[in-house]
Every structure is written in structure tokens, then in C-alpha cells.
């Protein structure tokens, strides 16, 4: 720093007073001379501003927390006696009984699973199904005694239940057979010509094209078709004899009266 004199103060004097000025212990005429030099000197003015800024930055730093295990490590590496107590305090865990251990290891996870709604619903449904089954079989839990749980008693109960079920079905068998007979009678349908004719048409062996056969379906039911007509059928309209195409000059031709029972659906 150049040793310049400005406002009656040299730069090295300014430097020595800088800490006092920043600490706030400089006062009176010395402070006035200090400020005047800071305003006039191009080197010391910025130095004052930077030093104040740097102090502000550093004062903004907070204390950092040492690691929790550091004290124990220090004591372990120095005395090594009392550290056992500190390590114990740091690592000690409450003593738990075997039942609490079992409860924490097995029961709690099990109950946490069981308490889920879907499992509760499944258990409820299973209980309901078992209850209904036992009721249908005539088994009452109140009737179950210890003596009934002997193998002979269980066998006896099994045969009794089997006999009861067989008797039940023997009793209801006539009713079921009667119902079956009535149902079969009701199911017997009356004779219907329609489907039979359709079957005949399916078994048509005339080798006629389907369109030619269908062509006749457009004729009226009371029209007569002459057999062995040379070109096209001769139709005699009985309801209106004037409109018939039958030639009156050939009365010898045989006349075949065909009545179609065509059902149009």
C-alpha cells in the first residue's frame, strides 16, 4: 500500500485503525480523520468497504454441529474407561421380553395383514359358508361334546348323516319323478305341417332350379295348372273364367286342378 498522506492521515495509519473502526471502538477526531481519509484515498476507501463486507459475510456463518459420536470417540481414544458408559448410553436399547419379541416379529405383521378389508371379508364369507353348511347338515355346535369327537362317535355321526340324506332324497324322489313326467307331457308339441313341407322341399329330387320352383309361389292358390302344357302352364282362373288362357278349342286336354297350400310367413 503506498504511504500517501490525505487529510492528515497516512495509509499505514489508516490500516492500523481499520480494525478499530470496523469494531466501532474508534471515535472522536480519530474517526473523523479516518472517514475523511477513506473518502479521499482511492486505495483505502475500497479497502474499508471490502473489509466491512468480508466481516459481514463471516459473521453470517453459523456454527456447525459436530457429529454425535465424536465425543465418544474422543473419550475412547483418550481415557477409554468412561467411554463404555457413553457408548452404552448411545447404543443402549430397552430390554424386551420374549413375548414382546414374538409379538413384534410375528403377531404384528400377521394382524396387520389380517386386518386388511379383503382378508376380513374373506374370513367372514368363509365363516358364513361353514355356518350354513353345518345348519343344513343339522350340526349344532352346542351339541358337539368331547365324547362326540371320538373316532367311533364321528363314524356314527357320519353314517347317521348319510342315512338322513339318503332318506331325504328317497322321500322327494316320487315328487321329482311326477314333476318330470308332467314336464315331459307339457313339452310334447302338436303336429305341424309347415316344417314337414319345408323338409320335403329340401329333399327335392326334381333337379329343378330353385328359381323355377319359386316362380310358382307367385301364383294364386285357386289357379289351375294344366298338365303337359307345351309352353308354359295353362292357367284357368275359376273365379274369372274370362281371363283364363285355356284354349276352348281343345277341350280334350286333361285338366289338373292343383291347390297349393303355401303359407307365407
Amino acid at each position: 500500500m503506498p504511504d500517501l498522506t490525505r487529510n492528515g492521515m497516512q495509509c499505514n495509519e489508516f490500516d492500523s485503525l481499520l480494525t478499530d473502526a470496523i469494531d466501532g471502538v474508534l471515535s472522536g477526531a480519530a474517526l473523523d480523520r479516518f472517514r475523511a481519509h477513506a473518502r479521499a484515498c482511492n486505495n483505502c476507501g475500497p479497502l474499508l468497504a471490502e473489509a466491512e463486507a468480508g466481516r459481514t459475510w463471516l459473521k453470517g456463518l453459523t456454527e456447525v454441529e459436530p457429529p454425535a459420536s465424536m465425543v465418544a470417540n474422543i473419550l475412547a481414544s483418550t481415557t477409554g474407561v468412561d467411554t463404555q458408559r457413553l457408548w452404552t448410553q448411545a447404543r443402549i436399547q430397552p430390554r424386551i421380553s420374549w413375548w414382546e419379541h414374538v409379538q413384534a416379529s410375528f403377531l404384528e405383521p400377521f394382524w396387520a395383514t389380517v386386518r386388511q378389508p379383503r382378508f376380513a371379508m374373506s374370513f367372514g364369507m368363509a365363516f358364513f359358508a361353514i355356518s350354513v353348511t353345518l345348519t343344513m347338515l343339522g350340526v349344532k355346535p352346542a351339541d358337539i361334546r368331547a365324547i362326540d369327537l371320538r373316532p367311533a362317535a364321528i363314524r356314527h355321526t357320519y353314517y347317521n348323516t348319510q342315512a338322513r340324506v339318503i332318506r331325504y332324497f328317497d322321500n322327494v324322489r316320487p315328487v321329482l319323478e311326477l314333476n318330470a313326467a308332467l314336464r315331459s307331457i307339457k313339452r310334447t308339441p302338436p303336429a305341424e305341417p309347415g316344417p314337414a313341407k319345408q323338409k320335403e322341399r329340401k329333399n327335392d329330387t326334381t333337379q329343378q332350379p330353385e328359381q323355377k320352383q319359386d316362380r310358382n309361389y307367385s301364383q294364386a292358390g285357386n289357379q289351375l295348372i294344366l298338365a303337359s302344357a307345351p309352353a308354359g302352364p295353362t292357367v284357368i282362373d275359376r273365379s274369372n273364367p274370362d281371363r283364363s288362357n285355356l284354349d276352348p278349342s281343345s277341350p280334350d286336354l286333361p285338366v289338373v286342378s292343383v291347390t297349393t297350400y303355401r303359407r307365407f310367413v
Binding site: D15, S16, L18, T19, I22, L47, A49, E50, A51, E52, A53, G54, R55, W57, L58, K59, G60, L61, T62, E63, V64, E65, P66, P67, M70, V71, N73, I74, L75, S77, T78, T79, V81, D82, L86
Partner: protein, 199 residues
């Protein structure tokens, strides 16, 4: 800062083999020593190791402490400073091979200093921002020369007076003041330069 008689009693009890007294000393001074080491070394792990070394040395040389020569905290700080100087000398070669822009703190992700400056346009949570600013200042502090760094740490972070600092650093009081002024100004210039890069 400390009751001289109480500390002297603690020291005497420690020397006599009272482990409880030693534990009380450790509990009282571990935070202070850890912070000095952390701010000087810049690394949490190094600070923990150095703090442990300081207490080991203190435990071994406790008989040499003379209350009439100065406060116990000054004696402790002197031991700490000497170990920090030794540590600095040992790790000097390692640091020379490091990048000048590399992070020196393990409390922050390995990012260059300029990348740790918070975004000025969209300030995040105030607490996070304050933490980021503290880390930035901590990084800048690590870039000061060790003489300036130890001076500003003892003065502005540990609130020691100039005489105690002069005792610890074994330099005249005027030198201490000069180092503190230069350290503060250099830190401000570093931070100003860093923030200007971001702006």
C-alpha cells in the same frame, strides 16, 4: 469467557485421574475446536479427525498447562492451531494437485464454487438459500491463504480478542490486525468475483 478457577480445578482433577472432569472438558470444548478445524480444513471428516487429535494431544500435555500464562481456551486454541498448521503442511502436496475450482467441502455436493451460487432470479426457500450462501462463504474462506484464514477465523468466528490471537499465532498484535483486514477484504473480493460470474 471461562471461569479461570473452575477450569483450573477441572484441569487439576483431570491430572489427578478424574475421568469425569476430562469428560466435562471434552463436552465443553469439542464444539469450539471442531468449528475451528472445520472452517480451517474445510472438510467435516478432516475436522473430526483433527478434533480428536487435538484432544489426544491435550490429554497428554495437560500437565504442561500453566494457568498463570494464559487462559485455558487460548492454550486449547494454540494446540488446535499448531495441529492445523501441521495438517496444512501434510496436505499441501495433495491440494496442489487439486483443481483450483474443485470443491473442498464434503458438506456439499462436489460442485465448483461458481456452480454453488444460488439462482438470483428465482430464490428458493430462505433457509435453503441461507445454507447455500453459508457454503459459498465457507468455500471462499478455504481459498484464503492459511495466515489470513486463521486470523479471520479466530477473530470473526471465534470472537477472540487481538491479544489472544497474537498469542496463539505468535505474531505481534499489529500483524494480527493487518491479517484480519486483508483476510476480510480478500474474502469480499472472492465472493464479489464469484457473484459477478453468476450475475
Amino acid at each position: 469467557m471461562e471461569d479461570v478457577q473452575v477450569v483450573a480445578m477441572l484441569v487439576r482433577r483431570c491430572i489427578a485421574g478424574d475421568s469425569a472432569a476430562w469428560e466435562e472438558i471434552v463436552q465443553t470444548y469439542n464444539r469450539r475446536i471442531y468449528n475451528i478445524c472445520y472452517r480451517f480444513a474445510g472438510s467435516g471428516d478432516d475436522a473430526q479427525d483433527l478434533t480428536q487429535e487435538v484432544f489426544i494431544k491435550m490429554y497428554r500435555t495437560l500437565v504442561s498447562y500453566d494457568p498463570s500464562k494464559g487462559a485455558f481456551v487460548t492454550w486449547v486454541t494454540t494446540i488446535t492451531r499448531n495441529l492445523l498448521v501441521d495438517h496444512f503442511r501434510k496436505t499441501k502436496q495433495d491440494r496442489m494437485t487439486d483443481s483450483m475450482d474443485s470443491a473442498s467441502s464434503d458438506h456439499e455436493d462436489a460442485q465448483p464454487l461458481s456452480e454453488q451460487i444460488p439462482d438470483q432470479s428465482a430464490p428458493p426457500d430462505a433457509h435453503v438459500r441461507q445454507r447455500e450462501v453459508s457454503e459459498t462463504v465457507h468455500q471462499a474462506l478455504g481459498k484464503l491463504s492459511p495466515e489470513l484464514r486463521e486470523a479471520v477465523i479466530l477473530r470473526d468466528l471465534q470472537d477472540m480478542d487481538y491479544r489472544e490471537i497474537a498469542t496463539v499465532l505468535r505474531v505481534p498484535e499489529g500483524t494480527v490486525k493487518s491479517r484480519i483486514n486483508r483476510g476480510r477484504a480478500e474474502l469480499a473480493r472472492l465472493l464479489q468475483r464469484t457473484y459477478r460470474q453468476v450475475m
